[in-house]
Structure formats: structure tokens, C-alpha cells
Amino acid sequence: MKRFLRPNLLLGGALLGAVLTVAITARFWTPHDPVRTNLRRRVGPPSDVYWLGTDEFGRDVVSRLMIGASTSVSVALATVVLALLLGGLIGLIGGYFRGWLDRVLGAVNDTLLAFPGILLALGLLAVLGPSAWGIVLALGLAFAPTVARVVRGTVLSVREREFIEASRALGNSEWFTLFRHVAPQTIAPVTVLATSMFGWVVLSESALSFLGLGVPPPAATWGNMLASARPFMQEAPRLSIAPGLMIAACLLGANLLGDALRDLLDPREAR
């Protein structure tokens, strides 16, 4: 039990838990309407009513940060799921069946890995145009090769084990053996990867939204809030500071939790 009481696990879990709570709450309740503009309240100071003040269109900053959490978390979760499904399938099939299929999938994978991830995402967005689904697709494809590599590596070592041979000897089909016995063995490394990936995706999505290639306004994301706060940096630095702190909290949570899970699930790497 003591091994679960690590500071990284607790702090990381608390940070991510807080972000998730905010993201879910924002679906049902925010202190004010996050998209309602009021030009008489432009860049208003913090007050009892508007805790962090208002932005350049007079919208409540706290409400927008909350909706931003909801957008960023949903986009990141969808992206991670897509990357896991795609990369997982490629890794499982390639690693298990080997042969020409593995070589073809491997060549595709290596080509995708030959691009820096964000460049691949930018190229795909050039084709898809900026939208939440464009981001999910672009980042999902950009992160899938990493998943495929990790899964394939694990499958390669698992497929030689006795219980896999036993499953085949019992007359189970290859596909049954693959999904019933091999796939579950990849859960530990994939969980560790998915946790850190969640952080990278939040970072990439906010970077792309900051550039104007992500989720388009008036929908709030932390990235596009940062971009629109830039002209008011001197007047109202809080508009720039707040969204960045949210991204950093999310990332720190994912990094700490990822480290803790790696130590827990993969004792070989524990330090």
C-alpha cells in the first residue's frame, strides 16, 4: 500500500483530478455565460462578480477558463483514444503476425516518425483546415506511430511466451489469441504512455490554437485565450498568466502521474 503513497502519484493525481473536475463542471455550470460579450466591460478588472476580470470582449475570464478546460480535455481525450486505437492495432497486428504485413506497417510507421510530430500535425491541418475534429485527427495521426512502436515492442516479447503457445495448442484462433491473451499484456506500457501523451496533446493543441490553427473562436481554449490576450499584456497581464497556468497545471499533472505509473507498473525502470 505504501508504494501508492508517492508524492508524484498524489500530486499528479490531484492536479489532473482538479482539471477534470473543472472540465466536467463547466459542461453544466459556469459562473457567467462564457461567450456573452459586453463591450462596456472590456478588459475589466477582477471584482466580486468577475473573479479574474473580463477579456477584450467583456466576457468572464473564469467561465472561459472553465470551458477552455472542457474543450482542451475533450480534444485531448479524443486524440489519445484515436492514437491508441490506430497505433495499438498497427502494433498488435505487425508485432504478432510479423512477415510482410509487419514490414509494410513498419515502413509506414518509420516514415511518419521521420516527421517531427508537430510538423506532421501542421501539414495535416493545412489540408483539413482548423477545427476541433481537424486537431483530433491531425494530432491522433501524429501520435499513433509512437503508440505503434511501444505496442509492437511489447507484442514481440509476449508472443514468444509459453501461455501464448498454450493458447494456440488449445486450438484457439490466431485473432482470439491476439486479442484475448496478447493485447492485455500491453495495457501497462500503454497506460504509462497514454498518461504522458495526454499532457503532450494538451500542449500541442494549445500551441496550435495559439497559432490560430486549432479550435476556432468564439469557442474558448487555453491556447486561443493566450493568443487573444497578447495585445493586452501590459494592461492586463492576468489575461495571459491565467490560461498558461492552467496548461502548466494540466501538463505537470500528466507528467507526475506518468512518472508515478511508470515506477508502479514497470518495476524494471523504477528508480
Partner: protein, 314 residues
Amino acid sequence: MLAYLLRRAAFAIPTLLLVAASVFFLLRLVPGDPALLILGDQATPESLADLRASLGLDRPLPVQFVLWLQRVLAGDLGTSITNGEAVGPLILDRFGVTAAIVLVAVALAALIAVPLGLLAAWKQDSAGDLLAVGIATLLLSIPSFWLGLILLLVFGLWLGWVPVVGYVPFGEDFWTAASYIILPIATLTLVEAGVLIRMSRASSIEVLRLDYIAHARAKGLSEGRVLLRHVAPNAFAPTLTLIGLILGNLLGGIAVIETVFTLPGLGRLLVDAIFARDYPVVQGVMLFVAAIYVGVNFCVDLLYPVFDPRVRAG
């Protein structure tokens, strides 16, 4: 050694070809007619047909690819739709700014992070180690573009030590030019140092556990000598791979930093081209950056055996 070299080269060349093919076909997925895009409103059916023929767009796709590849290999990346400039020189011109910032920042980050990681590993679980890991994890979690904004706010707006917006080429005035790129360099150095400290520490810990280190200590070598002569070179090899990946990543992907500091770099060129739907430029930059990425990783592979002789045999 030569066999190792050839093996790596034999891997890099097909990768580059596949990269070129995927860049070419990716941008053919864009809906719409490239000829119409180039000519815009002034298009007539005749001029469209002429342009299609001169661009080779009336030929089958595989033929188009081969023709395009021939031109690329001859150094011709086409011309920009927005301003008619040749894409190749445009890229090289913008690459200078990006390369200067990235190379200095990564070198600084490595100089700080590698020894720090080694020391942290040596004193594993001490207060100093915890502090180093804590700072590294914190740096790793700060978005670079946000850190840039904060540095700009503090040193540019509040303290007034550096100019806030703009860029001066190094050829004009060295010190003014330096004052414009000092903050972007500081930002990248801090962010990348975080990743590198963790990597250097992790690989040093791995090496410190090996038998030959115990052997070196048993021979009565001083701790300093053990660390410098026996741990550092071997622990540096995996860190070097990471440095290569970071370098490749940053050389093409610091659009956000260039946006924060309004620098005319390669990343900004790509993003502006995406907005302007200037596909020859998008295609050119993607190919250029991917080629650099593959090239940098190839160089790292070549350097790797220098630090870790086991690779040569493998």
C-alpha cells in the same frame, strides 16, 4: 565501423524518399484545383489548361511525383503562390534565424543539463537530486510559448531591459540583433533543459548500476575519475539521441516561439503559408524540415558509436 555507416545510410535514403512521397501526396489531398488556386480570379479556361500542362497536372499522379522529385533533387522547390518568390531561397533565408536560435539554445541546454543530470544521479535520492528532478519536471511542464510571454512581460515590458517586438539581422548590428534573440534563446534553453536533465539523470543512474563501475571503484579510482571517465561517456549516448530529436523538432517547430517574439523564422513561414493556402511553400518547408530531421538523426547515429562502442558490433 564502415558497415555500420553504410547500414545507417541505407536506412536514411529510403526514409527520405518515403518522406518526399508523403509530403507530395498529402498536399494533393487538398480539395480544389492548384492551377485555379495559383491564377485566382484572372483564370480563363485557356490559361488554366496552359498552367496545368506546364505544371504537369494533366499527367497521371505517379508521373507528376517523379517529375516533381526530379525538380526537387535539382534544388527547385517551385514558387510561392502569394508573392511569386522561389521557395528554395525563401526557406534558406528564413532558416537562418531559426537555426541561430535553436542551435545556441540546445547547446546551452545540453551544457547545463548533462552535468546536472550526472550529478543528480550520482547523489540519487539526496535533497539535491530531488530539487534537480523537481525543477526539471516543472520546466518540462511549462508551455514554451507561455514562458516566452512571461519573460517578455518581465524583461521587456516591466524592466525594459530588452526590446519587445521586432528583429534585426545579425549583419546589421550585432548587439541590437542579440538583444532581440536573447529572450527566445533563454526560453528554449530553459524548456529543453528540463527534458535533458531528466534524460541525463536516468541514463547515468542506469550506467552507475553496471558492474564495470563497481570494478572501476574497486580499483581505487577517485569518484571524480569514475564519473568523468567511465559514467559520463556511456550515459551521454542516449542523451545524444534525445538532443538529436529535440534539435530536429525545434528546427522545424518553433513557430509558436517565433510568433511570441515576432521573429521571421521558418516556423512562422510555414504557418503563414498554411493560412494563405500557399501550398508550394507548405510543401517545400515540410520537405526541408523533414529532411533536416532525418539528417540530424543520421548524424547522431554516426556519432553514437563514439560514445558507446557496443553499438559498432551490434
